[in-house]
């Protein structure tokens, strides 16, 4: 009769241990996925990732392209208001965007309005035209502003 006893206990043990292994292993991916969310791994990808070294957000990249084409002739490539010889005779002089004081004093919405409607609409000189009809997309102007904000990044506030 000893034989039966042995035979009966063995499968029972086996089932339980299999189940335990199953449960433990099943919990594994769960723990991982929670980690994904909590540690914000999403935002810091590493390994096996296709991303260029010189990463720059689309907003700033696109803003720069538009800025260089439309604004740089007067305001200069670095935003100092020194657009080579093009703007030498203008009075008042083109705005210096690299001036941190100016950057702090204006809100994005104000910049947007001025770029969209032109300086004349705000009682200033008529030299900066309304770009709304040319650029047509509001997002483009927002991109320019995103780029303008980067111009003062390296400047030290006085």
């Amino acid at each position: 009769m000893e034989k039966y006893k042995l035979n009966q206990r063995k499968p029972c043990k086996g089932i339980i241990s299999v189940l335990i292994v199953l449960m433990v292993s099943a919990c594994q991916p769960l723990a991982n996925s929670e980690e994904d969310m909590d540690t914000g791994e999403y935002f810091k990808p590493e390994g096996h990732v296709m991303e260029l070294k010189t990463k720059e957000s689309f907003e700033i990249r696109n803003g720069r392209i538009i800025y260089i084409e439309h604004c740089a002739p007067c305001h200069g490539a670095t935003g100092k208001g020194d657009g080579s010889y093009y703007a030498s005779g203008l009075e008042p002089k083109p705005r210096n965007f690299a001036d941190p004081e100016f950057a702090e004093s204006v809100q994005d919405d104000y910049l947007f309005e001025v770029i969209w409607k032109g300086t004349a609409a705000f009682g200033k000189s008529p030299y900066c035209p309304p770009w709304g009809g040319t650029l047509k997309e509001e997002e483009k102007v927002r991109n320019i502003i995103s780029f303008l904000r980067t111009l003062t990044l390296h400047a030290k506030p006085k």
Binding site: H48, K55, E56, F58, A87, L90, P130, G132, T134
Partner: protein
């Protein structure tokens, strides 16, 4: 010992069933919650929206509080209170009640019974009508007439009562009119607040259900579930600037032209669109998923799947820079890629021995960037001996001994020098050839720096080159200036004296450098050089005698972007990540690091951005399995003018700067509809002696064309390069001084002079307008002002959104600007 059937298995069964229940519970839990990350994201997203709206609500509330304190609001409110008080007076209350009961009486008692009667009579009329039409008897007709009369009378009575009712109602509403008026006025103040309140309430009431969003695009064989987490991607409003809820940036380019419904996400961004159980899996950033997500601007590699041409394609800047570099830097010389025509970008080298000094050849081969930092030729990292071998070989192709007569000569005739200088300046060589870092405005023309050019090349060669560059290099971008021999001599004299490398001159023994140093060529060394030229594939970029039928030495790259990591040879390099991206970047930056001594790829000097752009292009080299309807085939006009004009155009290389019908470049104004744009008379004068229209670095030089040639060009432009759309506005009416004055006012008001010059005043972003009336057709001016982006040579000209009338006046003003009048006009402004 109990018998088998007498034993109790209860405990075992209990344990088993508990475990079974637990496992089942866990299974359900895992299926519903554990594997559904997106549920948490969606909950978070909706709570953010709610938070945003509640914030907005708070803001609006405080704003409304301020409004409440303001005078306009208070005035209306007081008026409303007064009106209410007035209404509350007993007299008014009684009157209101009395009118109410009167109205009630009229409506319910008088009108109701009459209405019944009226319906009855009408029914009878209809019956009589039927009878009469059926029987056509006289008596029926009479009966009908009578009934009709009766109904008319009744109607008259009802109308009268209705009138009375209306009157009473008017009286009644007059009592409450003020209250209604002021209440609605107050409502205007509170309208924004109420709107947000409503929005908030509806959000609170019912959150959108949590669900998996899936896009199935059968044509592309894609199933994308990305939007299950990226909920804000196609929303109109920006919810939060944080992944995964960010709005798709630049949606005016991307989503607007590629609707999610037809394109999905992974066709551009790659990754594992179906996966939803983990962020890494969904992005395909797991080891065995072959197409990891393309992050950031690398996604532009996918533009090439459908767009045949990416130059000037908004949003595809990185990949189009990559493509430009790939062609301009001569990658094509060694690597075959389907769809890229083979072009030899370098000058022919068969006669280079007669062109440059041996010493310069050595310097150049050592490292081209050391001589000229914008040099396109990469550094082949040759040993000194290899350099000598190759130099010997090149010289041996055309000569039997070394040494040439170098142009550098400080003691030229002063008069010749001055005339050459004037010619050099008026020919605007500086537009393409930089000098001491200045000039060289045409970016895609890699003209040699002139600073020390005279110490590099032979005097004889310089003369022949300026005389006609094409006789030496048939594919050169340099125009064939029609100089006379005397003019060429003057130019050579000027350049010989001006562009000398003084350091080198001082280094050498007095004068010895200037004079030719003759030495026999070592033929053994030249033989070695020939083998090196073959090994390094110099013939990929240069025409070299004896190498006409060689095939490219590099690997074929047509499907390089799809290469798996296991196909990339990491060789001796161990410390970089085993991925396509890091291998490709490392290869481009230091091409021989993986297998030194075997790899022959030269080293390119590029900025990090440029390397990235090249990587982006390389990533786009994949098999294109896109259905035809998605394909954006490039317009292939294949503009190739024939005959006399075609010959002149090729000779002058017009398309190096100008664009005609999709061919050419954008440095100078587009000429596709030039014939409709400018007046012929002006054109002829301009080709003879180009007057200054633009900043000097953009000003067209004088090519010294013969009168006959100018006639050919002007005729061709006038007859062929026209566009009827420019002539849409046929008649502007007469130019009157009033209109001109209005136009002038607009010109000043809009600040045009910030960019344009009239007389001596104004900026130089746009062309000088002093003689616009002579230069441009008024039809073109009109169309240009109407839509400067479409009809104009630059994208910069702003669209002011002018009225037609304003445009007409401005056109008249500009058409009135002619050479003779400018002086007068200018005086007036002073």
């Amino acid at each position: 010992m109990k018998r088998e059937e007498q034993k109790s298995f209860a405990l075992m069964y209990l344990i088993c069933s508990v475990v079974l229940v637990l496992v089942m519970g866990w299974g359900i839990w895992n299926e519903v919650v554990g594997k559904r990350l997106w549920k948490d994201y969606q909950r978070k997203f909706y709570s953010i929206i709610e938070k945003n709206v509640s914030k907005e609500l708070e803001k609006e509330k405080t704003r409304f509080e301020i409004i409440k304190k303001q005078d306009d609001y208070q005035v209306v409110k007081r008026k409303l209170e007064n009106a209410r008080k007035e209404f509350d007076l007993k007299r008014n209350q009684n009157e209101f009640n009395r009118l109410g009961s009167v109205i009630h009486d009229i409506r319910d008692k008088e009108l109701a019974s009459l209405n019944l009667q009226l319906t009855d009579v009408r029914n009878k009329v209809m019956e009589a009508e039927y009878n009469y039409t059926k029987s056509q008897k006289e008596e029926d007709r009479l009966k009908l007439e009578k009934l009709k009369e009766e109904s008319k009378e009744l109607l008259a009575i009802v109308d009268k009562i209705k009138e009375r009712l209306e009157e009473e109602q008017k009286k009644k509403s007059a009592l409450t009119a003020d209250i209604d008026k002021y209440e609605s006025e107050l409502l205007v103040f509170a309208a924004p607040l109420n709107k947000i309140k409503e929005k908030y309430a509806s959000l609170k009431k019912r959150r959108p259900s949590l669900q998996e969003y899936q896009l199935h695009i059968p044509d592309l064989e894609r199933v994308d579930r990305c939007m299950s987490c990226h909920l804000g991607i196609d929303k109109e409003e920006r919810v939060v600037d944080e992944q995964p809820f960010k709005k798709h940036p630049g949606s005016f380019i991307f989503l607007k032209n590629h609707s999610l419904k037809d394109f999905g996400c992974t066709v551009c961004h790659e990754g594992q669109g179906r996966a939803t159980t983990s962020v890494k899996k969904a992005h395909g950033e797991v080891e065995y998923w072959l197409k990891p997500m393309l992050r950031g601007s690398l996604a532009q590699a996918s533009c090439k799947k459908c767009h045949e041409r990416t130059d000037n394609l908004p949003g595809a800047e990185t990949v189009s820079i990559g493509q430009k570099l790939f062609v301009e830097r001569g990658c094509i010389g060694c690597h075959d890629v389907e769809g890229f025509p083979t072009v030899k970008i370098g000058p022919p080298l068969t006669f280079v021995g007669e062109k440059v000094s041996y010493k310069w050849l050595e310097t150049w081969l050592k490292n081209p960037q050391d001589y000229y930092e914008k040099a396109r030729m990469p550094n082949f990292m040759l040993s000194d001996e290899e350099i000598r071998n190759i130099a010997d070989f090149f010289v041996s192709l055309s000569k039997s001994e070394l040494g040439v007569m170098i142009a550098a000569d400080p003691d030229v005739d002063e008069e010749m020098y001055q005339r050459g200088k004037a010619l050099y300046n008026s020919s605007r060589c500086v537009i393409c050839h930089p000098r001491e870092g200045r000039g060289g405005a045409v970016k895609y023309v890699y003209a040699p720096d002139h600073t020390t050019i005279a110490s590099k090349i032979s005097k004889d060669w310089l003369f022949r080159w300026i005389k006609n560059p094409r006789s030496y290099h048939p594919k050169t971008k340099m125009p064939h200036f029609r100089f006379t021999d005397k003019e060429v001599e003057e130019l050579v004299a000027f350049m010989s004296a001006e562009f000398i490398d003084w350091d080198a001159l001082e280094d050498e023994e007095n004068g010895e450098h200037v004079k030719a140093v003759k030495r026999e060529i070592d033929h053994v060394s030249a033989g070695k050089g020939k083998k090196l030229v073959k090994d390094y594939g110099c013939f990929g970029c240069h025409e070299i005698k004896g190498f006409e039928n060689e095939s490219k030495i590099g690997a074929e790259l047509t499907s390089f972007g799809a290469k798996g990591v296991e196909f990339l040879d990491f060789g001796v390099v161990r410390d970089i990540e085993k991925s396509w991206l890091s291998w490709t970047t490392a290869k481009l930056k230091d091409p021989r690091q993986f297998r030194e001594g075997i790899s022959r790829m030269p080293k390119f000097t590029l900025s990090d951005e440029d390397f990235d752009a090249l990587v982006c292009l390389l990533a786009s080299f994949k098999e294109k399995s896109i259905p035809v309807k998605y394909f954006d085939k490039a317009m292939t006009v294949g503009y190739e003018p024939q005959g006399k004009f075609g010959k002149i155009m090729k000779d002058l290389n017009c398309l190096v700067c100008h664009r005609i019908k999709d061919k050419g470049a954008d440095f100078a104004p587009e000429l596709t509809y030039e014939g409709s744009r400018v007046k012929r008379e002006w054109l002829v004068n301009f080709l003879k002696t180009p007057d200054v229209l633009r900043p000097l670095l953009k000003q067209m030089p004088r090519f010294n064309m013969s009168d006959e040639e100018i006639e050919v060009v002007a005729d061709y432009i006038n007859l062929v390069l026209v566009d009827d759309h420019v002539l849409a506005k046929e008649d502007l009416g007469e130019i009157t001084s009033d209109d001109v004055e209005i136009g002038k006012k607009i010109y000043n008001e809009k600040g045009c002079k910030a960019c344009h010059q009239i007389g001596m005043e104004g900026g130089a972003v746009g062309p000088n307008l002093s003689a616009t009336g002579d230069r441009l057709t008024s039809e073109y001016i009109y169309m240009h002002l109407k839509d400067p982006q479409k009809w104009g040579s630059s994208n910069v000209a702003p669209n002011y959104g002018l009225q037609d009338k304003e445009i007409t006046c401005l056109t008249k003003y500009l058409s009135d600007l002619r050479v003779k009048k400018v002086g007068f006009l200018w005086k007036n402004t002073n």
